[in-house]
Chain length 399, copies 2
């Protein structure tokens, strides 16, 4: 990582990493299932995607009666590399603290699946994939997708793996939206579900932050109307700004103050310039500049759009209707300092589930780390996941 003094440095970056990221689109270092063009994915918009490719990872072993499969749904900038080192960044899996042998989601016991979402850039079909109609990457010709479409694509994968019912579907943030959508659309296929730090719909403020990010990307001339693939430019500065803005929403005000406060970065006094005088500035620039080397800007546009469109209440007329007749056992988790998807939003899910007499428990976890708490070492959260899954596994007769 290299940060110039007064702006994000995109010239000194190792092109190697960006190239490695681009290769994941067509040659992911993952398991891959390629559905033939004759089996298109019909989208909520009415449009179709064909062929459909899904890149995914699995951990653990599927048992004989295929009753121990857990689907993990990733968040906006996540991917399928839950518990293995990331093929582009080399960093540990994004939920490696939660998923693995002996971990709360115990891969000695469960068969864990995570697929790169539809619209992503790590091997599943997305805007960087080749559009068969033109032979060039889709760009903005890629259809606008929904959380429902993402889940439909995952269901294809689960079918392909020969699994009728998932023991659990688990996800945080946008992953939690997918969990809710699974439970609404595929009621019989989900035994237990953990929607974490999420919401049943995107609020005006949620949409507002996403719109700022999209405008930052589209304002970058290197975006080129989305057709930057194969040119020597990509909207890295715009995407970095989008990431910086989003990152503020992932941390609580208190977490920012405790971690950075007004601390200065490598200096004793103000520089009276636009250098990154403050630690918080340096941190945000770092977040922006590292993100752009592993993520496709168009994917960012499409995925944020899918989140903005998410509104289970609108889809079902009334939120409770989304869960009518459900037999799924739910555990809804929120974090006290999460202001992106606050406890209030998570409680709406609980209220709707109670409205249809569903089996639901709700845990609000005390944390000052903000939305990102679900990705961090939170003991009470780990204990909650472990306890919920173990109790359900016992009931289901999983060894």
């Amino acid at each position: 990582m290299s940060v110039r003094d007064n702006s994000i440095d995109l010239t000194a970056r190792q092109q190697a990493q960006a190239d490695a990221a681009a290769r994941q689109v067509t040659e992911p270092q993952s398991l891959v299932v390629r559905f033939p063009a004759s089996e298109p994915l019909r989208l909520d918009s009415g449009r179709e995607i064909a062929p459909l490719t899904i890149a995914y990872q699995t951990y653990g072993t599927l048992n004989a009666d295929k009753s121990n499969a857990i689907l993990i749904c990733h968040a906006l900038t996540g991917d399928q590399h839950v518990a293995n080192d990331h093929p582009v960044t080399g960093k540990g899996g994004w939920w490696a603290t939660l998923v693995g042998p002996g971990k709360p989601v115990d891969t000695d016991r469960f068969f864990v699946i995570c697929a790169n979402i539809l619209g992503g850039c790590m091997g599943s079909t997305g805007p960087a994939s080749v559009n068969p109609a033109t032979g060039r990457p889709y760009g903005v010709e890629f259809p606008v997708i929904t959380i429902g479409d993402m889940v439909k694509a995952q269901a294809r994968l689960v079918d392909y793996l020969g699994i009728d019912q998932l023991f659990s579907v688990i996800g945080g943030s946008m992953g939690g939206m997918q969990v809710l959508q699974w439970c609404a659309r595929y009621k019989e296929r989900v035994l237990t579900a953990m929607p974490i730090a999420t919401a049943p719909w995107h609020t005006a403020q949620n949409i507002a932050f996403h719109e700022v990010g999209r405008q930052a990307v589209m304002a970058d001339p290197d975006w080129q109307g989305g057709a930057y693939y194969g040119t020597n430019a990509r909207p890295a500065r715009g995407l970095a700004v989008a990431r910086m803005a989003a990152h503020i929403t992932y941390l609580s005000e208190k977490a920012l103050q405790d971690k950075f406060g007004r601390g200065l970065q490598n200096r004793d006094q103000h520089s009276f310039s636009f250098d990154a005088d403050f630690k918080i500035e340096s941190y945000l620039r770092h977040q922006g500049s590292t993100f752009v080397d592993r993520f496709d800007a168009n994917s960012y546009l499409y995925i944020t759009r899918a989140m903005d469109y998410f509104d289970l209440e609108a889809e079902y007329g009334k939120l409770a209707n989304a869960f009518t007749g459900t037999k799924t056992q739910f555990c809804v988790v929120s974090f006290t300092s999460d202001w992106l998807y606050p406890t209030r939003d998570n409680k709406e899910i609980v209220k709707a589930l109670n409205g249809v007499a569903a089996n639901v428990s709700f845990v609000e976890i005390e944390s000052d780390k903000g939305h990102d708490a679900f990705l961090l070492d939170e003991e009470v959260f780990f204990a909650t996941v472990r306890g919920f899954l173990n109790a359900a596994a016992k009931k289901r007769g999983i060894a």
Copy 2:
């Protein structure tokens, strides 16, 4: 205003307004005082500005003993046009509801002064002004300034007007920071003070949002390292993104939800595109695109930087020390739903004032409108200002 379907339209804009705004830099439609080059303004950084120009407006009449002057300090994107129609936008003054004949700040009784801040773009010396060393606009050669420097420039104006002591200094947001700085640096010159919706220092989250805005501006190739004056380009897209991000912080989450929610803009259903489907998107694009026609991007960089540097505690070792020996009568005002400068920050001011046994009252006003509440029709706020000023005027013997 013209908004293209999927991004901010900067081409169809009336160039006339942008030109009118640019003219204000050198030929403001305001009163102006031009201090000669022989009287430089010495800055906190150690650098100097010369010549110094201050553009200002006044309302009402200064009384014979010059005891009825009120200085109003404007916020980040405000200017001196408090109570008259704006010469560029044609809109009413930004505090016309509060200031005027018979209004809470009654210009039948008080002589009201408001100066465009140092670093601004409405006629006071700023980065768009001509740098006498080069004959060209300063751009990034303009020195980085502080809130203290802004106040020092205002003191020059107050001297010029022959006023020893101000009856009151009033301001919200960054205006409130100036109020505090006045009270710290010029104790004898401030009889009463109203810091409103403000803070004694910028927090990490405050700095973070500003840094996102600055990076958005500097990422725009049209910024040209700050030297865009006289070219046919200006970083309008970057500045619009900065304004959009900032605007989210000016409203409460509840205000956004109540005002826009998930309402659609001129359509019945999602477009499955990147159009401004949602009212909130359309609103933010409008905020971004109208802002860039009246505001200079470099001014935005310099003023946000000054705010980030603001830290009265660091300047005085301990916040209370800033007010040691003060005889000023304070009324500190906060708004319940303001998350940019929350009640907590305003209470730090009150605590410090109490620590030196200052004369201080504190009013927290119930409002769900967020930070912008101080600019809106808030009856309790109006009554607070009127009551505080009237009582102090009676005591001071102002008719």
